[in-house]
Structures are given as structure tokens and as C-alpha cells.
Symmetry: C2
């Protein structure tokens, strides 16, 4: 049996169970050149909220009635393709279901995991979130020794890696996160120089105190008021790396942008967006460097592992309530 | 006698005569190495509004009780400096007064005009506004043959040159301006492909119609709603050149920024600010190319020449009411 969570209704505001429909279908059959994959791990990412909307973006909207799209790791259970054999662990952009049929090299990239790879690491620090941090920092942020890096959503899967890459490159790193526990993790575990708790502190004032030489790079996952506060403190020729804007993803009406964009003019600064899929052909190279940093202890990461097919829809919302501790994953089972 | 308009009070909202104080002083005396200059032409620029505020920017605020700062062309009437002789026409950042003492090379750059130069041309298409258009377009906008360029404040001294440089570089050029007359000038005189009258048209809808291949470069002088409308239509890897934000300069409370900055992420686009004084050492090179375009007829410009010392404060406001037709200047007199 193939359990599925289908997108039933496009969301208005916060996503709930009513946006999905649970269905049980027969396990699909594969044809020539096809591979049957059983999903084991699901990745949860704020960008999934955007995929549910019916509007133009960097990927087409998830169609109503189709399984909700998600990054997955699964195991090949049946293969009619010469490059894959039963038992292979594979990573792809799949959906919220037990089984799916892949046509590798035609309609789908199906990347085999290296032998001995840890699926949680592959989906977090080596996966899209870690890669997003890596390319956003190195290609757009361009950290230089002695500069100040400010990161919002700093305890998240992307922000925490972005901040640590800045530290590795010699920056003073200040993170913005929600709550004492996350802030303590940043300074005590992840080697951030300082952390700002946006839930209890005046972010604008604290940036001023903690960034005495102003902000050279702002790696932003949040947008809105946090972006405005950061723009008050940018240095000459600052780089604002627009990675995401989670503060607006569940908004039911447009959230005004920062009123101080003229600071970009006065400081001759740049604000730039990017999408990590543009770097797909260089993921392997980045994964090597990220792995080396993890192995040397310079780069730490947290995985928040949930369990159970029935909990999939609620797990997505953990990202928006801030309940997640690091990379949000959900495990259906272990490889056979 | 030296007539002066001093900054008397920092503005709140629209600038009025109450922000300035008229004073008559003796003509200043020059010391060793100094030069006495009589002002003949004043340049009016939206950025002057910012100089009146008491806040950190790319130049210090004009002090209360000092002549209001302005770009000027004057004539040397007395010189104790070997590089200057009486009768020389010079350009500098001066103030609203008849006479001033310059210490060339020490506290002030005093650029001699080439023989036969037209002061109105030097202060407009070859001056800071033309230079702003030139460097903003070529260094940040990077126009490519066949791209679409959208310009706001398109009939202004900077916008009109920016648009024409885009046309010269092979772009389809659409301008946004206020009123039929300005829009007609853009398409009939300045060679823009199309113009949008923001006073009578739906800017968002019209950009969509007039930019069927989306917007590759948005050269923005306005900010606010116009910036938001433009961001709805940016192409992949668009460049948003933040030149100014005149819509907010007279605001008495913060004007919300665009709610759609996430479009920069989805399209992998860049928004970047700049200040033309960073290019001062290359002004001469740009002036050569701008002059050649004017002489070949590829680049046209308008000068709005007011007269009379008593009209200086009101002339500044012509920029904010949109009364100006092209570069706003005021003439006190002709060279002796």
C-alpha cells in the first residue's frame, strides 16, 4: 500500500491539515527504464510553503491532487534501470508518499548516496540547506577576514551553517534567533560571537551594540522588521544576501518591506537573491568541503528528527512556529 | 555685498522658505593660496533634501547657519593661487551665496571648465546628474543588447540620460514619468520606446504590457510604490539600480518599502545602491563619451533654467512637485 499526503487546497495563512488529503493507493508498477523508490526520510524546508501557492516562482506550483513536494531520501526497491539496483539509497525531489516511480535521467535526478553516508547529514548540512548556506555565503556574501557577518534565522538549518562558514572565513559572527535556548546553542555550540533573541530583545539596538564596526554581510532568512533593523547598521559596500523571508510566508496580505532601502544607496550596498538549484552541478564539490569542516569539528549542525507518516503535515508547521531545533526531518523507517 | 541663503531650520516634510534665512554679508577677503569665486549658476538636485537632515549620510549635514550646499559654477574674481586667474570659470560643490572663498587642493576641489564649455551642459548632462546616469547604468546596470530597461523619474536629469544610454546600448527602454507632456518628450525627443504616466495610468499593469520580455534593468529614482510595481516584473538575474528614492524624501514618517522583495530571490536578482562621487576620478572620461553622444545627436537633454537669487529656495521645490522640465538650474548672471 502507498500512503500519500496530497495537496488538497491552496493555503491561506498558516498551513493546516485541511490543506492536505490522506489517501491510500496501490504501490505503483514500474515500466522500462524506471525505478521504484520507497521513501525513508523527508526534508522540511520553509520554501515548501511557496510551492503550495498558485503563482510563478522558481519551480511550478504543486498541483492540487498531487503528493506534496519534498526533498527525500529513499531506497530503491525495484529497478528497470541499469544504473540502479534494489537496495540503493537515493536522494531526489520527491513527495509525501511511501513509494514513487522515478525515470532517472529523463524526468528526474536521482542521486545515489555514497556508501556509508548518513541520511540525516545528507539532507541537512550536505543537502539543500547546507548548500544554500555555502553558496549564499561564498558566491554572494564573499566574506573577508575581519568583517562582521549578521545572520537571521541563525539557529535554523541554513542560518547556522552560514554563520559558521563566516566564522571559518574569519568574520565576527552575530546571529538572530528566537529564544534563549537557540541563542545559547549559537554561542556555546556553533561558535557564534554573539546572539540576539528577537523575542525578548530590541533587535535594532542590539545589532548596534554587538556590531561596533557595522555589518558587512547580512545573511537574511527572515525579511520584514528584521531586515529593516539590519539595514540600519550596514557598512559601506555591504552585501545583503537574500536567502528567504520566512516572516512573510504565511501572511494573508502583503507585508510592507523595509522603509530604509535608501541605506543601500548611501552605503553603496548590494542586496541580492539566489536559488540554490542554480548550483546543483557544484553540490558535490561543496559537499566535500562541508564534510571536511564537519569532520574537523569546525562545523556543527542539529537535526530535529520527527517520526511517523501521520505527522508529516504538522511537522511542516514546526518551521513556522520556531519549534524546530536545526534541520527539520521526518523518518519513516530505516533502510532495509 | 554677498547675498546668502543660510540653512535656518532642519525640514519636517516639504521644504519651505522658513527653512532658510536670507542674509547680506560683506564680500569675503582671500588669504594666501585662496581664490574668490562669484557664483553664476546653481544646480538643484533631489539629494540636497537629504543634506538638510541631521543624520549620517554620504556627506555631512549642512550645518545650521551655513549657506545651503549646492553644486555651482562660478567665475574667479580674485586669485592668490598659481593655478587660477581672474576670469576662470570653475565648478565645485559650493553654496547658495554670491561669493565664496576657495582653498583649491586643500579643502576644496575647484575644477576649471574647458574653454568654450557651456555651463548649463556642464551642470547637467556632463555634471553629477549625467555622471550618475552614466555610472549607474554602465557599472551597475550593465545593459546588454536586446534587454529591457525600465527607468523611473525618466524625464528627470538623471533618468532621461540613463534611459538614453540604455537605448544607445541596444535596450528596449520604457520610462515612467508624471504627466502627458513629460511622457511625450520621452518618446518623441529622447527616443524611449514607450512611456508610462504614473499620474494617470496603472503602473503595474502598464509595465506588464510594455515589457513583454520582463525587465532586465530597473533604474530607480523614485522608490516606494513604483519600485514595488517594477519588482513585480523583473526578469531572471535583473539588476535594480537604486539611484534615489524621491518619493520618500519629504516624508514625515517612514514610508514602507516594497512588499515583494522575495521576487529578488525567485529571480536571482540584485538591487544595488551607489553614490556618484565614488567615480569622481573618472568623470572626465565619462564626460568625453557623453559629449560625443550629445554631438552626434544620440543623447538629448533638457535644462530648466530659473533666474534670480530671491527664487533659489522655491526652485528646489520644483524637483519635488515635478514642475521641473529636465535639469533644474538657476542663473544669477553671465560670466564677466
Amino acid at each position: 500500500m502507498n500512503r500519500q499526503w496530497l495537496l488538497a487546497k491552496r493555503p491561506y495563512g498558516v498551513v493546516g491539515r485541511e490543506n492536505f488529503e490522506y489517501r491510500e493507493s496501490p504501490i505503483p508498477k514500474i515500466g522500462d527504464g524506471e525505478v521504484l523508490v520507497r521513501n525513508l526520510y523527508f526534508s522540511f524546508d520553509p520554501t515548501q510553503r511557496g510551492w503550495m501557492e498558485d503563482r510563478e516562482s522558481y519551480l511550478p506550483p504543486v498541483p492540487i491532487g498531487e503528493p506534496m513536494r519534498a526533498g527525500v531520501i529513499g531506497q530503491v526497491t525495484e529497478s528497470n534501470h541499469p544504473d540502479y539496483t534494489s537496495g540503493d539509497l537515493v536522494q531526489t525531489l520527491g513527495g509525501w508518499e511511501d513509494y514513487f516511480v522515478a525515470r532517472p535521467g529523463f524526468s528526474m535526478m536521482l542521486t545515489k548516496l555514497p556508501a556509508g553516508a548518513d541520511p540525516a547529514m545528507v539532507l541537512s548540512v550536505l543537502g539543500t540547506t547546507g548548500q544554500t548556506a555555502y553558496w549564499g555565503m561564498l558566491d554572494l556574501g564573499k566574506p573577508q577576514q575581519g568583517e562582521t557577518l549578521l545572520v537571521s534565522g541563525a539557529a535554523g538549518a541554513t542560518g547556522s551553517v552560514a554563520g559558521q562558514i563566516g566564522r571559518i572565513k574569519g568574520c565576527r559572527v552575530v546571529g538572530i534567533a528566537g529564544g534563549e535556548e537557540k541563542c545559547a546553542w549559537l554561542t556555546e555550540e556553533a561558535g557564534f560571537d554573539a546572539a540576539i533573541d528577537y523575542k525578548s530583545e530590541n533587535v535594532h539596538a542590539r545589532i548596534g551594540e554587538l556590531c561596533p564596526n557595522k555589518v558587512d554581510i547580512f545573511f537574511d532568512n527572515v525579511g520584514g522588521d528584521i531586515l529593516e533593523a539590519a539595514l540600519n547598521h550596514i557598512n559601506l559596500r555591504a552585501r545583503v544576501v537574500l536567502c528567504g523571508g520566512i516572516s512573510s510566508y504565511n501572511a494573508t496580505s502583503p507585508i510592507p518591506g523595509p522603509s530604509n532601502l535608501m541605506n543601500l544607496v548611501i552605503t553603496r550596498s548590494r542586496m541580492e537573491g539566489f536559488i540554490v538549484i542554480d548550483y546543483l552541478d557544484r553540490f558535490a564539490k561543496a559537499a566535500e568541503e562541508l564534510t571536511a569542516w564537519v569532520q574537523s569539528g569546525e562545523l556543527v549542525y542539529q537535526v530535529d528528527m520527527q517520526e511517523g507518516f501521520e505527522n508529516i503535515p504538522d511537522t511542516l508547521n514546526r518551521l513556522f512556529t520556531g519549534q524546530n531545533r536545526g534541520k527539520q526531518l521526518l523518518r519513516l523507517g530505516e533502510p532495509a
